[in-house]
């Protein structure tokens, strides 16, 4: 990794709170208050309704990845990724585009950030999904090269052969599980 610091003092954004759909102790579809005797899992066992993978779930997967330059902060805190930047193709429900915004247009870490999102999703999404990763239009000086590189299977695979790179990547991904399971 280069020792150059691209953005020594980035702006921090408050993480969005996960919205609660119902009251904490109210059960869906019931007029009775939860009496604490039953758990969520019993509940889940009873309903067969499938829950589709959505924007929020994909965002949960990538929000807590650490920023390679500021390890103590997540991509979400630096507003590199956000839920609205994850979009599904209306025609093909298995095609997803994930957009991210580098903190500064000359950020040399952008490829690495894209790669970490790519690897996280490769590991965590079912294989039927086709994921397109792009930088937000106009947010980076070498946007085209970057997009091309991130969506080139061969180049992603080649990058993962590099043990030093993989090591840093694992470190950034090691936080990815962190907050996603708090609720």
């Amino acid at each position: 990794m280069s020792a150059e610091v691209f953005n020594p003092n980035p702006t921090i954004f408050a993480p969005s709170k996960a919205k609660k759909t119902a009251h904490a102790y109210a059960r869906a579809n019931s007029i009775w208050l939860e009496d604490g005797e039953r758990t969520d899992e019993d509940e889940a066992d009873q309903s067969d309704e499938p829950e589709a993978i959505g924007q929020d779930e994909i965002f949960e997967l990538i929000r807590s990845i650490s920023d390679p330059e500021h390890r103590s902060m997540t991509l979400e805190q630096l507003a590199v990724v956000s839920a609205p930047q994850i979009t599904f193709d209306p025609k093909y429900p298995d095609r997803i585009t994930v957009e991210f915004t580098p903190t500064v247009p000359h950020c040399g870490m952008s490829t690495f950030i894209g790669l970490s999102i790519r690897v996280r999703l490769l590991r965590s999404l079912p294989q039927r999904f086709k994921v397109d990763i792009r930088v937000k239009p106009g947010s980076h000086q070498s946007e085209h090269a970057l997009n091309k590189q991130l969506n080139d299977k061969e180049r992603v695979a080649a990058a993962l052969e590099n043990p030093a790179l993989l090591d840093v990547l694992e470190q950034c991904l090691s936080t990815a599980d962190g907050t996603a399971y708090e609720e």
């Binding site: 109210a26 899992e41 993978i53 590991r123 039927r128």
Partner: protein, 1039 residues
């Protein structure tokens, strides 16, 4: 004399222990003196042969070290000192001579003049470099003795002694010797006039900093890194003279050291700086700040950052504590505090940036330094934040601004005395001068969603700062937070933190909350339940109830809550216009249930906190509940009522149990008398109290065979009153055995539903648990008859038998918990049922669940509980289950597996940990049973076993391959319909990589990753989440 000669000669030839002991005993008995020994040794001591001289002196030193002290006189000590000092010159005798001197230097007869002589001789003749570490240890011991017992004489030796010692101590490397040397160094530095040799002392102490010693395995002396570190540290801060020499060295270590060195350096600076003093601190202030700044603003890890802040605090304290304390010096702060503050303020002009977080930490650290510095810091920072907040251009940055301000206010609070008894006088509340403007911007911040969170945090810190806010100001805050509560329409955490603030305020100033917040909340509660489809209104009253639950634990507020809720319950359950036939009663019942549940929750929080006001609600709340439910049950025989719903009864029972728990034995006795009068004799007059009058023409007889269901359902409230009784309380019945037997007969014949059955089962269990010693007849004959007629008899319907097994299980449990010896005999009976296909699994589950915890037989409920009952039970039952599972066949074997799965789920892990090797194959077979509940339980047990400690991991390793394939099977939706099992299996898979060596699991890795890819597409979100974690762990798993 000849004997001594002989002993000496023998020893010189053989070097055996025996001769030494014999010689010592000769001296002890007075048959010989040391003089005799010297004489006998004569030739050897002056022998031309090196070896003989060594042995001669060695013998003398050995005898001397064991010789009783009273056998020595002043003269002999004197002679021996001179003799040994002379022997130091001889390279062949120096080692035994040192040993001899070591013994002598501890003796009371050893005079100061001897000490000087010994010291001089040591400095003159001992060359440390040629001695091995254990011999050097003797030298240090001698010096330690000299310094300990003859300190004045050593001081009088002056430079000679210090120079000599430094010469000896230089270049020492052995940890045990260093421990000794550091202790001596410390004394010399503190008590001796060491100024002239300070550089030499610096040389022989600081060269060891930082300690990087790692104790070798099986170190016989057991010296740890920490021992050395703290011994050295006590030298480093022994004198302020080190200051100028030491700080540059510390700076160098800070700039270039490893993380461990940095931490050690910071800790050492913390203790050294105050000793080195303000002068040195000021001299190096700039350089230290620069080094610390790096650790604070670009932290490598949180611990170092924390330590750097601490050191910085110490530095500021050292510099400014010395200056005389007088108020009004805010503007005169100069030097480091001002410079650092300037730098931080510069950064804080951009509160939204990441550096601001570090800058505020520095300012927060200032708060706990000296009063003048903290006043200065607040004077700079608070007006800055206020200005920033009010600047229209900075509107988007209000939230981060308040966050920083909140941190500072909290730091200011923590800097004050934590003793609640000490009220600070006006001048000592640092934030006081700014409270109006701060309160102003905080209340503005409250109104915006983003900045509301930091505003509430800041308000909470202010509220908790003693002596800061007036009564009126607290009211003002409550008023503003109420508005936030009211406006918060969507379900957010904001309500939670607002309520938290309000309940903080109510804990010491309840009047604002009871006068302001509570009326607002009570008004929000409707008098009638919203209809079934009015989801929004229902959510609204739930939220209001949740708010009340959070606020009303304080005694005054709880009293109001009980009064208002009792009235509300009457309004809902007995409305003025009667309920029409066929009207939907469920929404009303659900509303009443929510209210009762809130009461129960608050009560249990209060009991948790040890509030004593719970007791009085046996008169204020409990009679009203009984009244409402008995009235409703009787009235429901004619018209539809809301209250007789089992779910409401369950919560009411919970409340009654909670209140009864808190009574003392004699109050319980009168209470239970009233309850029994009502249930057994129909006399409710002492039990009930309330608006609705119990109709006189109806009788309350729930045990009558003809009693309607609504009356029988009320048995739950009878049981609720008995379950928490002390064992001293006798039941108000003429014959307990007969009473219990009646209940036992009543259950299978008259009980109509599960709540009725459970109520009586719990009642029987509670009574048996308290009074088993008086119930021998019941436990032998009555229970035996019950077993024969309701369980063993296979002509009885299987449902009825299953219910009876539950009764039997509870009786056994009640006995086991109190440590009754025969409890396990009942297990034998249950084992008899294993061949009976109809009930074998029920019997098996009962065996497993007997030692499990429950909500009835608890400490809180005053049950008689012997410690380790679960352990004893497991010790006796588990081997039988294992044996049975191994030897029996098919269905019988399955029953044993069911019992095993139930047992390990209900007892603590420690009770079966040592059996794990034989359990493992059985548990794996248990995973094949066609019961999802059992499978999930088994997987959870395996999980607990795998994560707890490393001892059993060999077992996991041994079965790794089959565990992986079984878990994979249980984790895919195509093969396992139960979400619970899938989640448990995936969690187990996620754990495996951290407990099993890579080379064992390597062959499975590709399969697991491939199979888990399917689990990623599970229809359930909760399962997918576990799959992601599991798969990630396997990806990272490399050799």
């Amino acid at each position: 004399m000849e004997r001594i000669d002989r002993l000496v000669r023998t020893w010189i030839a053989s070097e055996q222990e025996q001769e030494i002991e014999d010689t010592v005993s000769e001296i002890a008995q007075g048959n010989a003196t040391l003089l005799h020994i010297v004489k006998s040794l004569g030739d050897f001591l002056t022998s031309e042969e090196d070896d003989l001289r060594t042995k001669g002196v060695e013998f003398l030193s050995l005898v001397l070290s064991r010789c009783p002290h009273e056998k020595l006189n002043r003269q002999s000590v004197r002679t021996l000192v001179t003799f040994y000092c002379g022997k130091l010159e001889d390279t062949e005798t120096i080692i035994p001579a040192l040993k001899g001197l070591n013994t002598l230097s501890k003796l009371p007869l050893f005079a100061s003049s001897d000490a000087v002589e010994v010291a001089n001789a040591l400095f003159q003749h001992v060359k440390m470099r040629v001695l091995v570490h254990s011999q050097r240890f003797v030298v240090y011991s001698i010096i330690d003795n000299l310094v300990a017992h003859h300190r004045e004489a050593m001081k009088n030796m002056g430079d000679e002694f210090l120079r000599g010692y430094i010469g000896l101590a230089e270049g020492e490397k052995d940890p045990r010797n260093l421990m000794m040397a550091f202790a001596i160094d410390k004394v010399l530095l503190i008590e001796f006039d060491s100024a002239k040799y300070i550089e030499d002392f610096f040389g022989i102490t600081f060269c060891y900093f930082p300690i990087t010693f790692r104790p070798p395995p099986n170190d016989p002396y057991g010296i740890t890194t920490e021992d050395l570190r703290s011994a050295l540290r006590s030298c480093l801060h022994a004198t302020s003279l080190f200051g100028k020499l030491a700080v540059p060295l510390f700076l160098e270590k800070l700039n270039a050291g490893s993380p461990a060195t940095k931490k050690d350096t910071l800790d050492t600076l913390d203790v050294c700086l105050p000793v080195y003093g303000a002068g040195v601190a000021r001299e190096f202030a700039r350089k230290l700040w620069n080094a610390l700044k790096l650790e604070i603003f670009q932290p490598t890890d949180p611990v170092t950052e924390e330590k750097a802040l601490k050191t910085f605090q110490v530095l500021i304290q050292t510099i400014y504590a010395a200056s005389p304390e007088d108020k009004g010096t805010e503007n005169e702060i100069v030097g480091l505090a001002k410079d650092a503050c300037d730098e931080c303020m510069e950064i804080l002009r951009e509160p939204e940036k990441s550096q601001a977080k570090h800058a505020i930490k520095v300012l927060c650290a200032f708060m706990s330094t000296t009063p003048s510095v903290s006043r200065y810091t607040l004077a700079r920072a608070v007006p800055h934040f206020v200005k920033l907040f009010l600047n229209p251009d900075e509107l988007p940055n209000r939230a981060p601004t308040l966050r920083l301000l909140a941190d500072l206010i909290e730091a200011a609070r923590q800097s004050m005395s934590q003793d609640p008894e000490v009220l600070p006088d006006d001048g000592n509340v640092p934030l006081l001068p700014y409270k109006d403007e701060v309160l102003g911007i905080l209340t503005v911040g409250l109104k915006m969603p983003a900045s509301a969170y930091p505003a509430i945090d800041a308000l909470k810190s202010m509220v908790l700062t003693p002596g800061l806010l007036t009564h009126e100001e607290l009211g003002f805050i409550v008023h503003n937070v109420d508005e936030v509560l009211q406006k918060d329409e969507e379900e957010s955490d904001l309500s939670d933190v607002s309520l938290d603030l309000l309940s903080t305020i109510s804990s010491f100033a309840p009047s604002h909350v009871s006068g302001n917040t509570l009326p607002m909340l009570f008004t929000a509660l409707p008098d009638r339940a919203p209809p079934r489809d009015a989801e929004a209104e229902r959510v609204k009253y739930w939220r209001t109830l949740a708010a009340l639950r959070k606020l009303c634990t304080q005694p005054d507020l709880f009293e109001t809550l009980v009064v208002r809720f009792s009235t509300k319950l009457d309004l809902i359950c007995v409305p003025s216009s009667p309920i029409a036939e066929g009207e939907d009663r469920e929404p009303s019942a659900a509303y009443a249930h929510s209210i009762l549940k809130t009461l129960a929750d608050v009560l249990s929080i209060k009991i948790e906190k040890g509030h004593t006001d719970v007791v009085k609600y046996v008169d204020r709340l409990v009679p009203r509940l009984y009244n409402l439910f008995i009235y409703s049950a009787l009235a429901s025989e004619e018209r539809p009522m809301v209250a007789p719903d089992p779910r409401l009864l369950a919560v009411a029972a919970q409340i009654i149990t909670l209140v009864t728990q808190s009574l003392n034995a004699s109050r319980q006795e009168t209470f239970v008398k009233a309850v029994f009068a009502a249930y057994l004799e129909g006399d409710v007059s002492h039990l009930v109290d309330g608006v609705q009058k119990i109709p006189a023409d109806k009788t309350f007889r729930p045990f009558e065979p003809s009693a309607p269901t609504s009356q029988r359902n009320l048995l739950v409230l009878l049981s609720a009153a008995v379950v928490p009784l002390y064992k001293e309380v006798t039941l108000p019945v003429p014959d307990e055995t007969k009473f219990l037997d009646n209940l036992l007969q009543w259950i299978p014949v008259h009980a109509e539903n599960a709540p009725q059955r459970e109520a009586l089962i719990h009642l029987i269990a509670a009574v048996v648990n308290r009074h088993a010693d008086k119930l021998d007849d019941f436990l032998t004959s009555n229970v035996h008859v019950f077993w024969l007629s309701h369980i063993a008899d296979s002509s009885v319907s299987s449902d009825s038998r299953k219910n009876a097994i539950v009764v039997f299980k509870w009786i056994t449990k009640a006995l086991l918990v109190r440590g009754y010896v025969d409890a396990t005999k009942n297990v034998d009976r249950l084992l008899e049922l294993f061949d009976d296909e109809c009930v074998s699994w029920d019997a098996a589950r009962a065996i497993g669940r007997i030692p499990g915890t429950d909500k009835v037989l608890t400490k809180r409920n005053h049950a008689v509980i012997k410690i380790l009952y679960a352990q004893k039970y497991t010790n006796s039952v588990l081997p039988r289950i294992i044996e049975g599972a191994k030897t029996s066949q098919s269905s019988r074997q399955n029953a044993y597996l069911v019992a095993l799965a139930a047992l390990i789920k209900s007892v603590p892990k420690s009770t079966y940990a040592d059996q794990m090797p034989s359990l493992m194959p059985l548990l794996l077979r248990g995973l094949e049973l066609p019961d999802n509940e059992i499978r999930a339980g088994v997987i959870e047990t395996l999980q607990a076993a795998a994560t707890s400690d490393d001892k059993e991991n060999n077992i996991v390793t041994e079965h790794a391959a089959s565990l992986v394939s079984t878990m994979l099977k249980n984790s895919l939706v195509s093969q396992m319909p139960s979400v619970k099992v899938r989640v448990a299996a995936l969690r187990y898979l996620a754990t495996l990589p951290s407990v099993v060596r890579y080379d064992v699991l390597h062959p499975q890795k590709a399969t697991v990753i491939r199979e888990l890819a399917k689990a990623l597409d599970d229809p359930k979100r909760a399962v997918r989440r576990e799959a992601v974690t599991a798969r990630t762990n396997w990806f990272k798993f490399t050799g």
